[in-house]
Point group: C2
Chain length 232, copies 2
DNA sequence: GTCAAGGCTTGATAATTATCAAGGAGCAAG
DNA sequence: CTTGCTCCTTGATAATTATCAAGCCTTGAC
């Protein structure tokens, strides 16, 4: 792979503490590749041949069963996906597709497992990462089971707003259709949920959302540190 | 702790491959205790002081926010809980309470983390366990987002039936109220969902359910290996 | 036995969410 | 500038799920 991308990857929490030699051998086995938008990278049910590291672009994790489909999560740079399947040498539980043109590093699963065996610091980092992923899904599930769709949208808007600097407006980082599926609702209902939030100072203009009364929105959303905060 | 329970715990996948000395020191720091039914063992938001190992009884994992409550999962012997929070030295994301009188081993978090640092085999087992937990929650989430409540019930009945020997009938292992919450529905709707399944050969008699037409039920449920099978 | 309590069910109704059909707005290609 | 496309929105309606209010049945205490 090209050496110019290595520092970026090395700085990922998953890789930063591993030994130089283990990191090098991982990188030597890896492929850096650019994929066009809307390309299905992995399909649920297939064996997890690679650990994916997204360095540029955006990837949607989704799942299907019985002709229905739902978005399970979005991956942003720099992020990894299907770590659990790689470690267990199992099939993928989720599919993944690029949202935009995306640059990805593909590390063969066998090499990841070998590095895990050899390098203790890497093993520790993997546990940290996995535990974080686990807690992420648990939060998602609490979000789904304990909140209505309007509340989920309100909290998601507050999070976007926060992440983007709390300037009073925010940009939706992907399609409304995708956002709807991520929030567990139909596109039609997302539209209506935005209307429901108008009295709370939410004004939609294409992919931009203005929040004119964050406090009122927060009173409706009732954000919960154990669901909405990334850190915990 | 009492030595009579050690073999049972040692045989857990999480502990079976760790070194004798690391296991011994973990066990010496641990407490084995029996708790009455309906006791809240841990509360979400509190620091994860112990790793819990259930050796007898049954524990419900649940979560609350904003006066609403939902069951996140059930733990059966021999099983562990809040491993992720222990490893991250973080607060619990879920609460736990005993369903029946239950026997639990409490291992102080610090000792678990120390053993993880010291014993490589334990570290590997932890990764395996964590990855399994992660994949479990992902499956739960797919179940929730891709199926209706009747389909969730149908699939859960099929799973109970399978687990209990596929004899044509099964026993619900906990309250219907709890089952309803686990499936993401109200008790009233669980009752109605059972009625909806009558034409598919589902007959309820208290906590016992007879399945007179498993094929027909399975055609409705459309079980999916990537959601319903434990192994994958 | 009677009684009370808890768990479950049922019915009536309401709220939430989905589906179907149509139409508008923005955008890229020609 | 027009055309066609995709994405989003809206309205009408239907399906699903929740809530509220009884009521029933079992269980255990007395």
């Amino acid at each position: 792979m090209r050496t110019s991308d290595i520092p970026e990857i090395r700085s990922l929490r998953l890789f930063e503490s591993m030994s130089e030699s283990a990191f090098d051998s991982l990188m030597q086995a890896a492929y850096l590749q650019t994929f066009p938008a809307q390309l299905e990278l992995i399909r649920e049910g297939d064996p997890a041949d690679f650990l994916y590291v997204l360095t540029d672009g955006c990837v949607e994790m989704f799942a299907r069963t019985n002709q229905r489909e739902t978005t399970m999560g979005m991956v942003h740079p720099v992020g990894t996906f299907i770590l659990a399947a790689v470690l267990k040498d199992a099939v993928n539980l989720m599919s993944a597709r690029t949202v935009q043109k995306s640059k990805l590093l593909l590390i063969p699963s066998a090499n990841v497992r070998a590095a895990f065996e050899r390098d203790e610091a890497f093993a520790r980092a993997i546990v940290e990462e996995l535990a974080g992923c686990y807690r992420g899904v648990v939060k998602d599930q609490k979000n789904l089971k304990l909140r209505s769709s309007v509340e989920r949208l309100a909290n998601r808007l507050l999070r976007f707003h926060q992440d983007q600097g709390a300037s009073g407006s925010l940009d939706l980082p992907y399609d409304k259709r995708t956002l709807a599926s991520l929030l567990g609702m139909t596109p039609e209902n997302l539209s209506r949920a935005f209307n429901t939030l108008k009295p709370y100072g939410v004004e939609v203009d294409g992919a931009t959302v203005h929040l004119s009364d964050v406090d009122s929105l927060a009173r409706l959303a009732k954000p919960d540190a154990l669901i909405d905060e990334l850190a915990t």
